[in-house]
């Protein structure tokens, strides 16, 4: 036994002491022009400094104009392969995209993208030339994100506002399970959404995307900043939901709900309401109110249909009437904010049927109208029957929930669509006397 231990020590020391073949993947340490830099003098070349030497085989550095014209020459290696210098043609005023790919000595290819501007501001990497913009997959992922938030925030709000106080164990368990699934899914889907956006910016197959440099997207775009804040935020929210379940203290659930609603603003602060023409703190606030109201409404419907109705017949009346009151407020806020945002984003009414954004909005409005009509039927026709102690409503509640989820899908497509271009403002006319 001692000999074996001694031999193991000798082998370990020898392994640490003896040199081995060099295999690594190269990471970009510095670039010139630098990431999203606005330069006043057109550069003559692009220099990329890597952590390790790179191989001339499969070396590629291309610089594109905003319209896709290649303005770079053949790259060459300097400083024992650590620096890649690519000559440029004379650059005009405009934004440029640099797409690079290098092969390190272990055979792993690393790639990246960044932008710079000559006399103009450079766009974020997600809007670089070659990025195709949001895909159908991203629309579905965005929809899943909205659904996750609805399960999480709507579930918590339902528990805290509609069904206050102690509940039967089976109801408590399922209610928190639904919220917990929402919390878990929010984090996973958020990560997936970020990776998909990075994939679009980098334009790499998945195998090479694993070694793609995500820092420019994470640190240099609103989407990336929102991803960082929301991932951290919803990890904290998940912790608070767990602590609330563990200790049976409502204070943790309230904290989770408030934080969760707060961090949902990341979507509003990184979307159309923050960056498009006409964006202001009012549009961002309206967007957040619109989104939050929708989450709470749809999440509450799920709690009603999936938790209360099947498990606690004795709570149906209280839950239904309580949720009806809450939903009235939520619908009011949702409609007001939605109308404001629609007026802001559609310069003309005809944009509704003349533009792609308008078409999607029309579909969403139709679904919203259906959901509102269904909700109104519950509120004014079903409520008296529930008050009287009767009413088979589970299927109807599930139906309204499904329509609500369809609204979220339309919303996800809208978020990834480009609103109609705002007409330029006319300059003030001088008054002739």
């Amino acid at each position: 036994m001692r000999r074996l231990a001694g031999a193991a020590v000798v082998v370990a020391v020898a392994a640490l002491a003896l040199p081995a073949g060099a295999l690594a993947h190269a990471t970009l340490e510095r670039e010139s022009p630098s990431f999203r830099e606005r330069v006043e003098t057109a550069p003559r070349s692009v220099r990329l400094n890597f952590s390790e030497s790179v191989d001339p085989v499969a070396l590629s550095v291309r610089v594109y104009t905003a319209r896709g014209r290649v303005v770079s020459g053949r790259p060459r290696l300097l400083d024992a392969g650590r620096i890649v210098q690519t000559p440029l043609r004379k650059l005009d005023r405009g934004a440029y995209t640099v797409r690079w790919q290098v092969l390190a000595s272990d055979g792993h290819v690393t790639s990246g993208v960044y932008t710079f501007g000559v006399h103009v501001a450079a766009p974020p990497p997600t809007a670089a030339f070659g990025a195709s913009g949001p895909t159908r997959t991203e629309d579905i992922v965005r929809w899943a994100y909205f659904l996750s938030l609805a399960l999480l925030l709507g579930g918590l709000a339902f528990r805290l506002i509609v069904l206050r106080g102690p509940l039967p164990a089976r109801v408590e368990r399922r209610s928190l399970l639904v919220s917990g699934i929402g919390a878990f899914a929010t984090i996973q889907v958020g990560i997936l959404a970020f990776i998909l956006r990075a994939e679009d910016a980098l334009q790499l197959p998945f195998g090479r995307l694993l070694y793609g440099d995500l820092a420019p997207i994470a640190n240099g775009t609103r989407f990336g900043t929102a991803f960082i804040a929301m991932t951290l935020g919803y990890a904290l929210v998940t912790a608070f939901v767990f602590l609330g379940w563990l200790t049976d203290r409502a204070a943790f659930f309230w904290t989770a709900l408030v934080l969760g609603l707060g961090f949902a603003s990341g979507l509003s602060l990184s979307g159309h309401s923050a960056v498009d023409a006409g964006a202001s703190w009012k549009s961002q606030l309206a967007d957040w109110v619109h989104l939050s109201a929708a989450m709470l409404w749809i999440g509450g419907l799920v709690q009603l249909g999936a938790v209360v109705w099947p498990l606690a017949p004795e709570l149906r009346r209280r839950a239904f009437l309580g949720f009806s009151r809450l939903a009235t407020v939520l619908i009011g806020a949702l409609l007001l904010a939605g109308i404001y945002l629609s007026v802001l984003r559609l310069p003309q009414v005809s944009d509704l049927w003349k533009t792609g954004y308008g078409h999607v909005l029309l579909v969403k409005l139709a679904l919203v109208a259906l959901a509102l009509a269904w909700g109104a039927a519950h509120r004014f026709l079903a409520a008296p029957r529930v008050s009287a102690g009767s009413g088979r409503l589970r299927r109807s509640l599930v139906g309204e929930s499904l329509v609500g989820m369809a609204v979220l899908l339309a919303a996800a497509v809208l978020v990834d669509s480009q609103p109609p271009v705002q007409p330029p403002r006319e300059p003030p006319r001088a008054v002739s006397r």
Partner: protein
């Protein structure tokens, strides 16, 4: 400004050392004595859960590659899940001893993540050696928390479980890209950059 990677590794090494010492103390005095003070039962799972929460900033800020992001995210999630399961067992919210297998699962997932995201071979540089060693250690020693599910009172298993955390801590403390002894093992590993 981001701290150097090794500082973050040392921070988590301290966390693992604390976990190991807590478990060692419990193994030495016995669970009954350890839990005479009810709050002591929460120390190990609470620390593990907190470390999982603290891993999330590492995941979001160290985005040098997709695979790093995913590996750190996996560690954050499994540490939170394992800590949560143990906390719930202590609190009485969960009753089945099978929930203790969450720690074994955390070991397996963590070890696999380490092995997958380290693309250099063992002898490229010190951190590569440690990634491989740590990865295989976690995969192999996942049997220890699994065995504890069926033998919760075993002193040997309890001590072994504690020592695994201490060894993890020592390995993480040893991580340094540039070191006077056994830093870069191959000259082509590149010049020291810190």
């Amino acid at each position: 400004m981001q701290p150097p990677a090794e500082h973050v590794h040392w921070l988590f090494a301290t966390g693992f050392l604390i976990l190991g010492l807590l478990l060692l103390a419990e193994a030495i005095v016995g669970t009954e004595v350890w839990r005479r003070r009810a709050w002591r039962a929460y120390l190990f799972p609470g620390t593990l859960f907190l470390m999982g929460v603290l891993m999330w900033p590492v995941m979001t800020f160290f985005t040098s590659s997709t695979i790093h992001l995913l590996a750190h995210g996996a560690w954050a999630e499994v540490m939170m899940a394992a800590g949560a399961a143990e906390l719930a067992l202590v609190r009485g919210k969960l009753h089945s001893p099978l929930w203790r297998a969450m720690v074994a699962l955390a070991f397996l997932v963590s070890g696999t993540a380490l092995l997958i995201h380290e693309q250099n071979p063992w002898l490229y540089q010190r951190s590569s050696f440690l990634h491989h060693a740590l990865g295989w250690l976690l995969v192999a020693t996942a049997i220890v928390p699994l065995a504890r599910v069926f033998r919760p009172r075993s002193v040997s298993l309890g001590s072994a479980f504690a020592l695994v955390f201490v060894v993890i801590a020592v390995m993480l403390y040893s991580d340094r890209d540039v070191a006077p002894i056994f830093g870069h093992l191959a000259p082509t590993a590149g010049a020291p950059h810190r």
